[in-house]
Symmetry: D2
Amino acid sequence: MAGAKNNAILLIVSPDKPGLVSAVSEFVYNHDGNIVDSDQHTDLETGTFLMRLEWEMGGFQLDRASLARELAPLAKKYRMDYSLHFSDRRSRMAILVSKYQHCLYDLLVRHTLGEIDVDIPLILSNHPDLREVAEHFGIPFHVVPVAAESKDKAEAEQLQLLREHQVDLVVLARYMQVLSPAFVAAYPNAIINIHHSFLPAFIGGKPYHQAYARGVKLIGATSHYVTAELDNGPIIEQSVARVTHRDRVEDLIRKGRDQEKIALAYAVRMHVERRVLTYNNKTVVFE
Amino acid sequence: MAGAKNNAILLIVSPDKPGLVSAVSEFVYNHDGNIVDSDQHTDLETGTFLMRLEWEMGGFQLDRASLARELAPLAKKYRMDYSLHFSDRRSRMAILVSKYQHCLYDLLVRHTLGEIDVDIPLILSNHPDLREVAEHFGIPFHVVPVAAESKDKAEAEQLQLLREHQVDLVVLARYMQVLSPAFVAAYPNAIINIHHSFLPAFIGGKPYHQAYARGVKLIGATSHYVTAELDNGPIIEQSVARVTHRDRVEDLIRKGRDQEKIALAYAVRMHVERRVLTYNNKTVVFE
Amino acid sequence: MAGAKNNAILLIVSPDKPGLVSAVSEFVYNHDGNIVDSDQHTDLETGTFLMRLEWEMGGFQLDRASLARELAPLAKKYRMDYSLHFSDRRSRMAILVSKYQHCLYDLLVRHTLGEIDVDIPLILSNHPDLREVAEHFGIPFHVVPVAAESKDKAEAEQLQLLREHQVDLVVLARYMQVLSPAFVAAYPNAIINIHHSFLPAFIGGKPYHQAYARGVKLIGATSHYVTAELDNGPIIEQSVARVTHRDRVEDLIRKGRDQEKIALAYAVRMHVERRVLTYNNKTVVFE
Amino acid sequence: MAGAKNNAILLIVSPDKPGLVSAVSEFVYNHDGNIVDSDQHTDLETGTFLMRLEWEMGGFQLDRASLARELAPLAKKYRMDYSLHFSDRRSRMAILVSKYQHCLYDLLVRHTLGEIDVDIPLILSNHPDLREVAEHFGIPFHVVPVAAESKDKAEAEQLQLLREHQVDLVVLARYMQVLSPAFVAAYPNAIINIHHSFLPAFIGGKPYHQAYARGVKLIGATSHYVTAELDNGPIIEQSVARVTHRDRVEDLIRKGRDQEKIALAYAVRMHVERRVLTYNNKTVVFE
């Protein structure tokens, strides 16, 4: 498990430039860093270079502050957009739910099993229904009712709670409210939603009903970062299941739940392991 | 293989009514028909009943003409929309192509292997490029150029050729022309197209480019009956493949070819085995 | 949901004989039964006919006792091996577990959501670890320790508990003990196990370690009925996931958990909806 | 397409040692090589490091001979087992077939479409049946009959033909003869076979019959390098398809053909793009 170790993870998005890989590898090696994982991708069309580099901090000659300081000139030289993470500093994840319980249970069981290595300081809901689930797993549960006429106030309260708990990742586990652009802006590339269709098919409400009406032979689920434009953020993962004429809408919903759980859990795990980079409204997932 | 035998296949779409199954089974049994396959489906929402019944004509007491005559009152009583097929009367399938060869090869190899039990009296193209492929498999190849200003005339010529060869199934194997409503009307539920996306995502032109731009993690192909409305006919089959950030548009096209072949070949096989029924712009596929 | 209705379900395994379908359909129709689902299969190789027929008891002219009585001569005539079920008489399912919690949670959440329409009178374990999970879902939890030297006694106690609770389906949700032939004989075709490999590959212990050592590119899970021969009972469902060289044994275990959950839950749902028939150490699943 | 460019590809298998990545990247960069693709993997269990590095030879300061010479000391220092390839030097691939045509057609159509960037100097068969297929694609076809009593002589003739045509990759496209250890030894990690089961299930002959008898719900195909031990070489790719009780052996064979084609073509493409490394009887596929 990533979190058990003391590793540094460097994520880079930059213009593609010769010597970059060599310079970064050398930087780590020269300070006695043992690289345990390295992934890179070049998008030739846009000339974008993306990299994820993970090395052990045990034995590394720089402490965290020095590392940040010494990395800066290199980053500047190559015009890197970069971030630095440490595997012993876990993500603090909030889960937002309404009444659907399958994704919530799924995330919490995976958390219990160590599949998702995060702290979960709170679960937030606009309904009280899932309190017992949260309590069973020992996670504080907060209810903030959301009504159309007081949504701003509700969001302010939600954001206040997230800040208080130092949340850096928000997971919408079938949360049935659309977040305002202001809320979204507070967590850029840090709100993960699960949409219950194979996007961009069936954007918006009741996608299983739409899928049934169209007579598709596969249904899907899509996990993505939330952006201001509904259901249009960078896609992290998609998952599909076969359906037949025998499946009514309620069967699509049932089969879809499994796809939702899988696509959401995968996205969350990839995110917290710092394996997802975004550019151009797309993701690169260094699995 | 279905065609090797002398079986009758009865396809029924009717209002759901008690006694229908019993009446039809009894009819076949009373004339000493041995039922070898029976499938049915009830769409409770619309009250529609669909059935496929296959029995051996060897030993059956009625010849084909008598069968049709004696079935009529039963069909009337239950207000059946029905059709009767005989497995020794093979479909006569025309393939329409342009320049892409993967689906054409795929269909012809499957035909050679006996997977698709039809006669193929001709291959029609708006380009001469694939003549050698047709000739290798011993199928007559006709070129009818299609230009925007003379499309009506071209279609008239195509339809004339199809009629001459008594074609009852038209397969568009990546044929790059849109058929006119008049052409489509000549072959209701008997023109199968392969669209290179997971419909209804990416309707229209260049779906792989659209998919690349959106950053999806799965691409797909959809085989469907052609109706007057572009890419909106009853879906017969859909197939998907995973893609990653490493896949450029040309990789999507390459990966997509496999899905196109699979989804198209499956649809054709199901159609010629009389396993596809349509209602409500959807299909029931009795696999 | 099947259980919400009052339907009769007739399962038949018999020698293939003309007139059987007609006779059964007529029997139901003549007593005013409205058939809502009918599936059949003929195994031509062994001359075996299998059928599942479901009709509404509301409006049916026979009560349950009379139905059983009147069906008997028909069954005798066609030498049917048959069973009769009523959808308002739910299966009583016991879950046996050890320490792994993923399958247990999965089954209990699906039960909560109504996906698996059964009563669960008890959960049995050879360890106390999962008591809290059972309690959270309000299911009685019994611990019967199993040691090599006293296995007979432990099994006697388990069987006694199952009888007391009138259990008719036993689900081994990663239960880590091999059941004795005597135990198995008490529940023929009524004990469902999940084996964590794509059987018949990797029979026996530590299949994920075996899979890792062999360097396979797909791992799987298999749900099956338990018979006296280990890992060799009739297969109900199999599910696979891709793995790569990046996946260590612990990753196979993690990825495998999802497949185990899916293959087990599917098998249980099919069983309790009376959609699984067995013959010749195989299953027919009328999905 | 890889072959269109003039790239160098370096494949490394070595003991894991700090500084290796940095040293190799630096080596390429210092000679003005532009790295276009880099993949690496560390097997922590065995302490094995594997890497694939691809860079442009255009602008690179060393010619091929100098490159090989200057790389040697670096390779020695890190005890690398390595090989150097150039994308404009295509693999020379021989296809061995018997009577099955689906894999042969599949490979040749993909070759025509540019999916598999190789030269195919000959097709070898123990039967004359597929001569016309070879001729249609313009590939020389040689028949070398193989009888039990004269297998040595036949293999000597085959090897002679392969040498004459400077073949460096042998693909067994459902070739129905077992190669002798001596033949296998002539092409280490350069003979790719397609086995028609999900190995290690159903090793040996008639795997579809074995699968049917066992009642599995998924069938598969496995492409692997051939080693002296039958069906036990390093697995490159596996592919599966769902089957049901409705599928007879001939249906498994039909469905399996698609999986065979896909798993074989993928393995061949990965091999010729130098994306497959082997160690410990396993493969690493840098997709």
